[in-house]
Subunit: 318 residues, 2 copies
């Protein structure tokens, strides 16, 4: 493989495993497309699929999958905790290797048009692919959800980039390029959400924290603990270890321990090397001369990661 | 006193103590103006004066002082390491108590006009008082320095807000309102400037650090150590203790200790209470029920401050 793109479509389906099989089948039929994970969440009634591969092939498989999803999922019968506006709720493309943001935007535009042509689902171009400021943020597009979309689309301000009228059973979709980010959650040894909120506030940009951190609190019912949940949108500038250590430092104020952490989705090796360089006291990540497996172990140990192994690393597949 | 403003004029003079006596005399003649400090730096050939008091009186004393300085200082004979453009190089006003930014801007405008009227020195309104984007940053105005000002002012783009032609011996001046900021330096147990640079990069906003931190490295010749020197422009959002602890955390990577720190200029009690609350494990600064002296001691101990006592705290004078 040469150029590599990641695609992380979200489908409004979870318990219907047969339907999911059909929807994900197009990602299994090509040599240059790899289906990394299928993660259904019944609470959200939503499934996040992660795929990487050659740009053209990923795009074509994505269009084929969207076509199946538009036939399998009926939004009129859908409910779940997560806000949603369509059967294929959102299709983010992320440049991984030898791809520029511009090339990824072009790919997302082609995919958006092809999905509309194949399914008649109207499509918004969002995030870095947005043509209008109101389409940059997904929550703004999604506002009103499936049930409110017919009314919303009557407003010329909310005219989709492709198509005009809501698909009666599959709603609308957003497709776009987003930069590679690190989705990272840190577990605290407490169930006090106020503490997670205060720590999130200390680290996130919007309230005076690190420039490339978005963060908030979350409560995990099964473990009865709280998390600081975050996106690090540019780990090259705001290092993940720095954020992790700052959370530990803030937690000390409450006599609370950090007891674990997790990466959501794939992480790239360069990010892991950056983390490794701090804990091994190297001046720079370029001084880290370890294998993918070794780097994975160092990071896992120091960040107290759970559910983490080399299969979460992009380079494992490349 | 009711409304309190701080004024920190910088004069292009240092060794001429008699001249300095005359220049600072107007700050000693009023009951409602307090001369806090006079800090000449021979290397820079520059003196920083700190004054607080009632706004009208501080302004009038400032104008009187500028008048003396314009007579005492001859910029044609001035040299020093710090960049400078006039005898009264810059006059920042900072709102301290019961004053809004807007009121302080108005005060700075009145002061600027009065200085021009009294001395014939042309004045730029800078920082928050700037009327044009090119005048927001002092280094932009100062570029070309005293020697280049006559040429620079021919360009309508660089027309001063008051006056037109450079004063032959006193150059030009900038007057403006700036927000209260914390100027803070952290000493490292090394003379390796690369380490101070790397740590400064980790904490400053421009390269991915904290939103309200500007930072860089500095070498202290007398102590043969390096410092991370910084401005925390909004300590209510980016806490000073957080920045201090992050510097310690980053220094660990290089096996370097933080061995001291210092505040430059005055700090307000609220900022010190915020720092205290972290080290005493209080949820908020409002839970810190200590006297000014006690808070000063706690902060001094934990931040390893040198040259710090209650006389560096604004509330000591208010």
């Amino acid at each position: 493989m040469n150029k590599i793109v990641e695609c992380v479509p979200n489908y409004s389906i979870s318990t219907d495993r047969e339907g999911l099989e059909k929807i994900t089948a197009p990602f299994k039929e090509r040599d240059d497309v790899r289906l990394i994970s299928v993660e259904p969440d019944e609470n959200y009634n939503r499934t996040v699929v992660t795929v990487i591969g050659a740009p053209e092939s990923v795009k074509e498989a994505m269009v084929a999958s969207a076509k199946v999803a538009s036939e399998v999922i009926d939004m009129r019968k859908h409910s779940g905790e997560h806000k949603r506006m369509g059967a294929i709720d959102v299709v983010p493309f992320i440049p991984i290797k030898d791809m520029t943001i511009e090339e990824t935007i072009t790919l997302s535009e082609e995919c958006a048009e092809a999905i509309y042509t194949a399914t008649n689902i109207p499509v918004f171009l969002y995030n870095l692919s947005a043509k209008r400021p109101q389409c940059e943020k997904l929550p703004d597009i999604r506002k009103g959800e499936f049930e409110g979309m017919a009314e919303k689309l009557k407003d010329p301000y909310w005219q989709p980039d492709f198509g005009k009228e809501v698909h009666p059973t599959a709603g609308v979709t957003a497709v776009g390029c987003r930069p590679l980010l690190v989705a990272f959650n840190i577990d605290l040894d407490t169930n006090d959400k106020k503490i997670a909120s205060a720590i999130a506030k200390a680290i996130r940009f919007s309230s005076g924290g690190y420039r490339y951190v978005q963060a908030g609190p979350a409560y995990l019912e099964d473990k009865d603990i709280v998390q600081v949940t975050m996106n690090v949108t540019d780990y090259k500038k705001t290092s993940v270890y720095r954020v992790f250590e700052t959370v530990k430092m803030e937690a000390r104020r409450y006599d609370v321990d950090v007891i674990g952490s997790e990466f959501i989705g794939l992480v790239d090796l360069d990010c892991l090397k950056d983390i490794t360089s701090y804990y091994l006291k190297k001046a720079s990540k370029d001084d880290v001369d370890l294998s993918l497996e070794e780097v994975t172990e160092v990071v896992k140990d120091h960040l107290l990661l759970h559910g983490f192994d080399k299969k979460k690393v992009i380079e494992y597949y490349v």
